[in-house]
Chain length 266, copies 2
């Protein structure tokens, strides 16, 4: 590393840090993706979140900036940079699923004029891969690249319903957060609900995450027959759900599945 | 770096490598984003593209995999991982511009049923931030996260027209690639064309990048009055362009601009 001190496991604060340099480099970027993180952070805030001394943080941030993964703002804070976006959107899973699904999501948006969402299972979360929203749709908290719990969202419940039994067991064995009075947190009730979703290939949620909003979600299968994603619309809660909505969500899910090579058993 | 040999500038092949470890780590991921790169690469291909010895590549790839930035495929090759996507889509520029623009892009898609594209200027390229495509739209080569030249695309020519004069000078002083007989590569002709775009606030391109396809693009201004992005539709080339198309592109550009805080001088 010509003209540059080698980065050692023992950092300059004298404290041991078992993390490799690469792991510490990634911790810098992870500081920005914590749910509570602001879009731009000071060097001090990055150091605290990444659990690194300030001088190490300074040097590693400079490496990210040189590559374009972080960008220095006019006010001296740092934000995630376009290079990271550019590389990230080329991830084949996200790119392929999104590219294949988008025309069907657009049809669904046109048919319903509601928020349209596409999510995949990632660990114990629903990870939102795509979202289309009109000018006048209800306020919701999901965003592309964001995560929400499996038991409180329509797409999450669908993804959980078709997850391997071990994952369902482990998810239901954890304490489940209650966001609103309607949130179902009892493992027994959730198991019955998952069975219902598998029987009907549709999930209905009403005010279990956000007051005033409801969702309808359906599973997307690929050529193996396995569920690889879920699609949903999020609407204002009404006394009587629109039957056209459920059909539109089913149609979109089947359309994407067909484009992914799914052939229904006859 | 407990139990792990320190990574040195002089690599195990005995050759000097002036790049820092971080730079070599980034070179691994850059191997996947080269225009010619396949979605998945073998370790050998990564090593060659990153200009690193195989054993270093092996170790650095393992670091990316541990973080989730690369994923090992069933066939033993590697691809960009979901963690990189997840972090990348949170980049504020891409996220804010995309979120604000999306409803207007959807309106434009509905009005025209053609490919709708949103691009920003990045270096000497048009970087595609968003793209909506219907089921039946003409084949085009742009993709989200992809780059195309400024002088051969509608969005590119708009972005170049409003770029700082130094950038225009430096772009036009380079050799400009000709893709099709229609591609304009003469600096003088391009300068006249850029002036025309600035006068009309619209760009028309016809078969300058891809045979059979034409585009109409318009500039998007933010609250400072500066052009921050360009929006376009790409259509099949027809003898007479649809006048509704041009109006729809203008309307979308003005809508996004207004949402970004642009107020036209009166």
């Amino acid at each position: 590393m010509a003209g540059r001190p080698a980065l050692k496991g023992r950092d300059e604060s004298g404290e041991d840090d078992d993390r490799s340099l690469a792991a510490r480099l990634f911790a810098i970027v992870d500081a920005f993706s914590a749910p509570s993180a602001a879009a731009s952070l000071t060097l001090t805030a990055i150091a605290r979140r990444a659990n690194l001394p300030l001088s190490t943080t300074h040097r590693l941030v400079a490496e990210w900036v040189a590559w374009g993964g972080l960008a220095r703002q006019d006010d001296g804070t740092y934000a995630l940079g376009m290079r990271l976006w550019e590389v990230g959107v080329q991830t084949p899973t996200a790119r392929n699923l999104r590219t294949i699904a988008l025309p069907y999501l657009e049809d669904l948006y046109e048919a319903t004029r509601e928020h349209v969402q596409l999510a995949i299972l990632d660990g114990h979360d629903a990870l939102y891969v795509e979202k289309l929203s009109g000018h006048r749709a209800v306020n919701i908290i999901s965003r592309v690249g964001g995560r929400l719990p499996l038991h409180t969202t329509g797409v999450g419940l669908v993804l959980l319903a078709y997850a391997p039994p071990e994952l369902i067991d482990s998810y239901l064995s954890e304490p489940l957060q209650r966001f609103l009075p309607n949130t179902v947190t009892s493992p027994e009730q959730l198991r019955r609900r998952l069975a219902g979703i598998r029987a009907q290939s549709i999930a209905h949620m009403s005010e279990e995450m956000t007051a005033g909003s409801s969702s309808i979600a359906a599973p997307i299968r690929d050529r193996t027959g396995g569920v690889v994603a879920a699609v949903s619309i999020v609407t204002r809660t009404t006394a009587k759900p629109d039957p056209v909505h459920e059909q539109a969500v089913r149609t979109a899910a089947i359309g994407v599945g067909r484009a992914l090579g799914y052939r229904r058993a006859t």
